[in-house]
């Protein structure tokens, strides 16, 4: 039996709006992934630990600021375990931040206007690549 791709989705900010994260989470679930909806989490350790405990393949962060948390999670991940989860960021991300996030180890940034299909396809493609390389 094929195992489901596991995704942890988190809002690492004080911003209460959950529409973006909820819609993306629902789309990933509809595409057959298992989504662990983490809600609000304000520090990087909490996110990294949850990802480790839940043994997820993907971490999705919904952000409009407080990007420091994404950088910190990116730094922590390689130390975590060999099969490092994909780290994705979505939300209102300024163009200048996109490049530095990617340079710091964020695998992809889906800023406002990205389609659900592009997110789903990206995750499937990356996870398939990894399975091949294992």
């Amino acid at each position: 039996m094929e195992t489901k791709i596991r995704v942890l989705t988190v809002r690492p900010s004080l911003d209460g709006h959950w529409r973006g994260l909820a819609v993306v989470s629902a789309a990933l679930r509809d595409a057959g992934m298992e989504v662990i909806y983490g809600g609000t989490a304000l520090n990087a350790d909490e996110i990294t630990n949850a990802a480790l405990q839940e043994d997820v393949d993907v971490i999705g962060l919904s952000m409009y600021g407080r990007f420091g948390i994404a950088y910190k999670v990116a730094r922590q991940l390689p130390k975590m375990h060999s099969n490092r989860p994909l780290l994705l960021v979505g939300g209102t991300v300024p163009p200048t931040e996109v490049d530095s996030l990617k340079a710091a180890g964020v695998d992809e940034v889906f800023s406002a206007g990205s389609s659900l299909d592009s997110i789903v396809e990206y995750i499937f493609a990356k996870c398939a690549d990894r399975a091949k390389n294992e």
Partner: protein
């Protein structure tokens, strides 16, 4: 021979017309035209459609300023002065706010609409860990009476409407406004202000709650009762439909959920023995409007006015006509604007302004063309003010009250929406009221389900967004200047609050916070209204964060439920 000639009735004429043009009807681009709420849009509307819906001019529409206020809450509307122009804004530090708001008043704005940063909205002072990275990030960090003294220096506070978006700590924001007025020697009777104090929708749509619902409702009722008695021109509550819409709800849910929240507030106040005819005249509504599905938007706001009048009169048995008048503060929906080709948004904003004006609202607030890129730039905000002035002063729509009133299409939409909204309200009643519905996650799920559906429709181009899913160009940002709070603002604000704590009378602050804790621990019947305690603490220069901490110690915090 003209086949239309000799048609005895409108019905006959319609039938002949349909026979005559049958071929042309086949050229229509869709077999069905439907609204987001699933209502079928007909080819044409005539008096027969209103007749079929049992439309009664005096009962359903009546004249402006007359019950049920479908056309307008006043008999003269904009003939007695344009709507109030508002622009939601706030920069990180008190001196920056002062400069911004003075510039806005200079440009002809007559309201200050304070956007607070998230730490302030959540009751965290700038030096708390929880606030790190978010101080001044999306709005003003104004946490003490001292900050108000800087931010409002030189601003005529008895001439300017001061609106605030605070919600969970709203009662503290009102206390700041009142304490500051007293310090400036401005009589409370002269103060004009509006407070977004709608905590219920924080649990169900916006996510910025602090306390559990029960004590949160106590603060709401306290602030409503206190202001009704002491600050007659103040609106201590805007009931919000806006955030339901932004969260994804369709128009029926948007209005029904907000009405259900308002019903819950009135029930809570009645339980405390507050005379509802005393507080209702001080309620406002914060609605959404957008260019998208223009007529549905106008119909939605007119249906709200009519339903609120009916609910106050029939459900609550109120007698004061002022209680039945639904005063609308309408804010443009940010999600209706696009990131691509951002200057296209200027057209969207102008059309949205027209929708709000044709719906006869009291205050209009707009988003800015750079909305999808970040916090608005000063240029974009000023442009928003100018757009309102152009719609208000150049088009002529302010010359007559409710120019669209009686239009067959519009009134059909109002009747259909009204029916659906009533049905949704009945459903919420059956669930046990809005508090129970929120506990069950009902409004939350319903909004997100519709948001998912809309996202699909946008991705499939069933909903057209020019520049986003049609008429795209290569990456085109047209040189939007994205506003960023300066990185040092956090440090500045931490220094400000440290300096405040060093220089104020620490013993007086402690006494005031102790009194708040003691009063909050008792029931409302024992300790009465909490507002005087809050005002006293603010006057002693206690911060918003310190007061929230004191209340947290007594009431605890609301924990985010699992929604998915």
């Amino acid at each position: 021979m003209n086949p239309m000639a000799g048609a005895a009735t409108l019905q006959d004429a319609l039938e002949s017309w349909a026979r005559l043009h049958d071929k042309e009807f086949h050229s229509e681009t869709k077999t069905r035209f439907v609204t987001d709420e699933g209502l079928e849009v007909q080819r044409v509307y005539t008096p027969l459609d209103l007749e079929a819906k049992g439309f009664d001019y005096l009962r359903d529409l009546n004249l402006p300023g007359e019950y049920p206020f479908t056309r307008s809450i006043t008999p003269t509307l904009y003939r007695s002065g344009l709507w109030r122009i508002s622009q939601y804004s706030g920069y990180a530090t008190p001196p920056e706010c002062n400069a911004l708001w003075k510039a806005q008043i200079q440009s002809g704005l007559n309201t200050i609409y304070i956007a607070y940063d998230l730490p302030t909205q959540l009751g965290y002072d700038p030096d708390r860990d929880e606030a790190r990275g978010e101080v001044g990030r999306v709005g003003a960090s104004l946490v003490s009476l001292r900050d108000w003294e800087v931010a409002f220096d030189g601003i005529d506070i008895d001439e300017t409407i001061i609106s605030q978006v605070l919600n969970a700590p709203a009662a503290i924001g009102i206390a700041m406004h009142l304490a500051y007025a007293r310090k400036r020697g401005v009589r409370w009777q002269n103060l004009k202000g509006v407070m977004q104090n709608d905590v219920l929708k924080e649990y169900s749509a916006r996510g910025n709650y602090i306390f559990p619902p029960e004590p949160a409702l106590r603060l709401v009722v306290d602030s409503l009762a206190f202001c009704a008695d002491n600050v007659p021109n103040y609106h201590p509550m805007t009931v919000c439909s806006y955030h339901y819409s932004e969260q994804g709800a369709d128009r029926v849910s948007e209005i029904a959920f907000a009405l259900a929240d308002a019903i819950a507030y009135l029930e809570a106040a009645r339980e405390r023995g507050v005379d509802l005819d005393r507080i209702c005249p001080h309620l406002m509504w914060l609605t959404s409007h957008q260019h998208y599905r223009f007529f549905d938007e106008i119909a939605k706001l007119r249906a709200l006015r009519k339903l609120w009048a009916t609910i106050t009169k029939e459900r609550f048995g109120l007698n004061n006509p002022e209680s039945m008048r639904c005063k609308i503060y309408s804010a443009e929906s940010g999600t209706s604007l696009c990131k691509e080709q951002p200057f296209n948004n200027i057209a969207r904003i102008a059309i949205a302004t027209l929708a709000a004006a044709l719906a006869g609202v009291q205050i209009i607030d707009l988003r800015t063309y750079d909305e999808q890129w970040g916090i608005p730039s000063k240029e974009a905000e000023l442009l928003g003010v100018r757009i309102q002035q152009i719609v208000g002063y150049e088009t002529g729509i302010a010359d007559t009250v409710d120019p669209l009133g009686g239009a067959y299409y519009l009134e059909s939409l109002v009747a259909d929406l009204e029916k659906l909204i009533k049905k949704e309200l009945d459903h919420i009643d059956r669930l046990g009221g809005m508090l129970r519905a929120i506990e069950l996650g009902y409004p939350q799920r319903k909004s997100i389900d519709h948001a998912c559906q809309v996202q699909r429709q946008v991705e499939d181009s069933d909903i057209v967004r020019v520049g986003h899913n049609r008429f795209r160009e290569r990456e085109d940002t047209n040189g939007v200047h994205v506003y960023r709070a300066a990185p040092q603002v956090e440090e500045i604000r931490v220094r400000d609050v440290t300096e405040l704590r060093r220089t104020r009378d620490a013993a007086a602050v402690e006494r005031a916070l102790d009194a708040i804790r003691a009063a909050a621990a008792e029931s409302p019947a024992q300790s009465g209204n909490l507002m005087p305690y809050l005002i006293e603490a603010v006057e002693a220069y206690a911060t918003c964060g310190e007061i929230c901490t004191a209340l947290r110690q007594v009431w605890g915090e609301f924990k985010e439920p699992a929604l998915l």
